[in-house]
């Protein structure tokens, strides 16, 4: 754990996905998130971590508590140096009920969090930044 209150979880195998989920729960103990919101966050992390394992092989998840005035939140960055996403638009295609798009669970993760940003370059890698704020 680095000094600024960040938690870094290297993602190399499916077991690390579980570790990332456990770590986020520990990190947000102080924050005012309901049980449901915690599950939403853990689920979003699970999705993006899973993508790292499946498509990039390895990467990392970095989580930290953030502030916006009096409001606190959690920011999760999932980054890898994998193949990148060629068709970002299609990856982010949203279909409420079925799993359309590329099956990366990205539109779903976006719905689970308050802020969501995706940067990806073919051959370079992908970085997803998501934030959820206390209500």
């Amino acid at each position: 754990m680095s000094g600024s209150g960040e938690v870094v979880v290297p993602i190399r195998a499916d077991v690390d996905v579980v570790i990332a989920r456990q770590k986020i729960r520990a990190l947000v103990l102080d924050l005012r998130f309901s049980g449901s919101e915690l599950t939403l966050i853990a689920t979003a992390i699970s999705e993006v971590a899973r993508n790292i394992v499946s498509y990039a092989g390895s990467g990392e998840i970095v989580m930290r508590v953030v502030r916006q005035g009096q409001r606190r939140g959690i920011t999760v960055v999932a980054r890898d140096q994998g193949p990148g996403i060629a068709d970002i638009e299609r990856a982010m295609e949203d279909g409420f009920s079925t799993s359309r798009g590329l099956g990366l669970g990205l539109p779903g993760s976006k719905r689970l969090m308050d802020e969501f940003e995706l940067v990806s370059e073919v051959g370079k890698g992908t970085e997803i930044t998501m934030t959820k704020w206390e209500r």
Binding site: S34, F96, S97
Partner: protein
């Protein structure tokens, strides 16, 4: 050495540095203020007297100082404040103390304009006295005054933010209270829940409702939920989607949701918006909803007495 911030208030070292930078409050300001400290101490008492005479001459502010004991206490506290302004060392402890003072004023209900008015009076009174005291060195009076102005604006900024935080906390508590006005989730028969929804549903309320409903399904081991929206005027696409999600989430927990009281207008909206009705059971009124639920659960309701026989 970092102190624990008081409840609700709180400022980081970094934020204090940023505020000072923005006001261009630097080391020479620190020096200027400390150099006018002696003069400040001389006029402290007369300033306080004049200051409170001014406050008490206005109905709006005198209302806060009817009690003579309170007045004495406040005067003394104010004197401490004035003296502190020129004692230097404007560190985190100083800032937190200002936040606390702001919180106290907010709690007693002193309006912001009165608070600002007080600072205004103070600055003008100080300016007059500084000019007098530094007759032979007017530049020193001026630089002293400018530094004092920077410092008081730092104080005002902190105090105003306390007011705002306090208001925001109150608003948040009220919002939570409103949300807790439950949409009741009522166990109706064994295995059945009744959820009467009234009024406007926004996304947040819909979300809360879903959470409550799902929790209740587990707690009551419900297999059927009758969600009655007779009392709901209109449903937009977002809320419609929330309803669909609620139905699907309940199904994951083994429960069937019957949406009752769907008005023709709402039905039209749902069709227009393209809400998938395939997975939802909808009926026009509450009675039909309950009957459908009873059917699913295997209840048969038989009437054994006529209306006239009922006492």
């Amino acid at each position: 050495m970092a102190k624990q911030p008081s409840v609700g208030a709180g400022i980081s070292e970094q934020e204090l540095v940023q505020r000072k930078a923005f006001l261009e409050f630097r080391d020479d300001d620190l020096a200027n203020l400390m150099s006018i400290n002696d003069v400040a101490r001389q006029y402290a008492d007369s300033m306080i007297e004049d200051f409170y005479k001014h406050l008490l001459s206005f109905e709006e502010t005198s209302a806060f100082f009817h009690d003579p004991q309170v007045l004495e206490r406040v005067k003394r506290a104010q004197q401490q404040y004035f003296l502190r302004l020129t004692q230097g060392n404007y560190d985190l402890a100083y800032a937190e103390n200002r936040l606390n003072i702001g919180a106290i004023h907010e709690r007693i209900g002193l309006p912001v304009k009165a608070y600002l008015g007080m600072y205004n009076y103070y600055l003008r009174a100080v300016a007059t006295r500084l000019v007098e005291a530094y007759r032979d060195a007017p530049k020193q009076a001026w630089t002293g005054f400018l530094s004092l102005m920077k410092l008081t604006f730092l104080d005002i900024g902190l105090a105003i933010d306390t007011y705002i935080n306090s208001r925001e906390r109150t608003i948040r508590e009220q919002q939570e209270a409103i949300q807790e006005l439950p949409t009741p989730v009522l166990p109706f028969r064994e295995g059945m829940l009744l959820v009467p929804i009234i009024g406007l549903i926004d996304s947040q309320r819909a979300r809360l409702l879903t959470e409550q409903l799902l929790s209740a399904v587990r707690a009551n081991r419900a297999k059927v939920v009758v969600m009655d929206i007779t009392g709901v005027q209109a449903v937009d696409s977002k809320v419609g989607n929330h309803l669909v999600q609620t139905v699907e989430a309940a199904r994951l927990m083994g429960a069937t949701v019957i949406l009752a009281g769907v008005s023709p207008e709402i039905a039209q909206t749902m069709v227009t918006v393209g809400i998938e009705l395939g997975r939802m059971t909808t009926v026009g009124d509450l009675q039909s909803g309950i009957e459908r639920a009873e059917e699913l659960l295997g209840y048969t309701v038989t009437r054994t007495r006529t209306r006239s026989q009922a006492t």
